[in-house]
Amino acid sequence: MDSLKLEIVTPQGLIFQGEVKSVTFPGEEGEFGVLPRHASLLALLKPGVIEIEKIDGNKESIVINWGHVKVGEQGATALVDGAIPLEGASESEIAKKIEEAKELIEKASENKAALAAVEARIEKAAKII
């Protein structure tokens, strides 16, 4: 089974690190997916959701506000300003994370339409969990 190494870091610390099956980034010019052995790429990211498909098939979503991603043959490294993983042990915890994520997005973007789209994505991602 092919996998790629994914690393998501913020100035405040490491958010995610591990081998994943695939990952989708919210690129400045549209969303794009990355599979193992992707060509080298450096892309700007806009506020949105990074969707990760782990080796075991489980999905994880991380909300980000802004950043870069560098994709190489060995893996992908995302350097982001702020990130909130949508996960938690209980429903109330997840609800809190969603609130935080929305706040993060609101601060990062002034475009109302884009904001609404991202919020919808967050809700959707949260439902999957």
Binding site: Q12, G13, L14, L42
Partner: protein, 294 residues
């Protein structure tokens, strides 16, 4: 007799000071641990961004793709205007911590001025600001409160204006001076040339394929990445400086506590001596009085 009372009062005051210094040491130790943790977490970002920058620098070198032009990478032989950013603490009582930075900055100023460059100072931290204001140096900007609680947003805002001025040609070089944390007992002066970026400093990384950029205008991607890199360097310097400050204060307070202890011991000895002396005098008085009565 008055002497006895005085010594006793002195002992009391030294003991009180000792209590304060000991408490300050404990506080610094705890804060140092927290700052160290913060620095450790930032280090993974540092590694990632350095790695990315090296890869870009390597591919620029290998494929000679554009983006290398522009002020970010242009090293001028003799900078006409140099911006010196320096970080000191907001509080004192940390040994030579603040003064070391100030001394380095003064040497730098003298050095650049001798070579004919104009120096502009940008200060972070109350102690440095106070010193240079008192000396009559003009400060281009002064920020208080950032060095005691590093905040990424504020650090980014601070450096943004500097970068903007650099890009507009108001300054030709940006140097960052701060005291860095080495380990629990040593600090070291760090002097970083923030701008222009020296791409030869990045180590060569094996690049196997041409890197694609998205959005297509490579300049935009590169520019925002460079901005990020500089912002992060600024933020990291603040954390590093804070850790160094706490370790310096810890040491200074430890030494102060020790000195206070020694002083109490000395004072106690002289107190005992004085007490004995007064007893002896009293005894002599009594005895000689009795002798006279005979």
């Amino acid at each position: 007799m008055a002497n006895l009372k005085e010594i006793k009062r002195k002992i009391g005051s030294v003991k009180n000071t000792q209590k304060t210094t000991r408490a300050m040491k404990l506080v610094s130790t705890a804060k140092l641990r927290r700052t160290e943790e913060l620095a450790k977490r930032s280090r993974s970002y540092e590694e990632a961004i350095n790695q990315t920058m090296s890869e870009i620098a390597s591919s620029i070198r290998k494929y000679k793709v554009g983006g290398i032009q522009g002020r970010y990478f242009e090293e001028s032989e003799l900078p006409a205007v140099v911006d010196i950013i320096f970080i000191t603490a907001d509080k004192g009582l940390c040994g030579g911590f603040n003064f070391q930075t100030i001394k380095t900055v003064r040497n730098l100023i003298a050095d650049y001025e001798k070579r004919g460059s104009k120096v502009r100072l940008k200060a972070i931290g109350k102690k440095g600001i106070e010193f240079f204001r008192f000396q009559g140096y003009p400060l281009e900007s002064a920020v208080v409160g950032l060095s005691s609680s590093p905040d990424y947003k504020r650090a980014a805002q601070f450096i943004e204006t500097t970068v903007q001025e650099f890009l507009e040609g108001e300054s030709d070089k940006v140097v960052l001076v701060h005291n860095g944390y080495k380990n629990m007992i040593t600090q070291e002066m760090k002097q970083i040339d923030l701008l222009p970026i020296d791409i030869t400093a990045f180590k060569d990384v094996e690049v196997t394929s041409m890197m694609e950029l998205e959005p297509d205008e490579g300049e935009k991607v590169l520019e925002s990445l460079i901005n990020k890199y500089i912002e992060f360097n600024m933020y990291y310097a603040l954390i590093d400086s804070l850790a160094a400050e706490h370790s310096a204060r810890m040491q200074a307070m430890d030494a102060a506590t020790k000195n206070a202890k020694e002083m109490v011991e000395k004072l106690t000895i002289s107190y005992n001596k004085a007490r004995q002396e007064s007893i002896t005098t009293e005894l002599i008085e009594i005895i000689s009085g009795m002798e006279a009565m005979k």
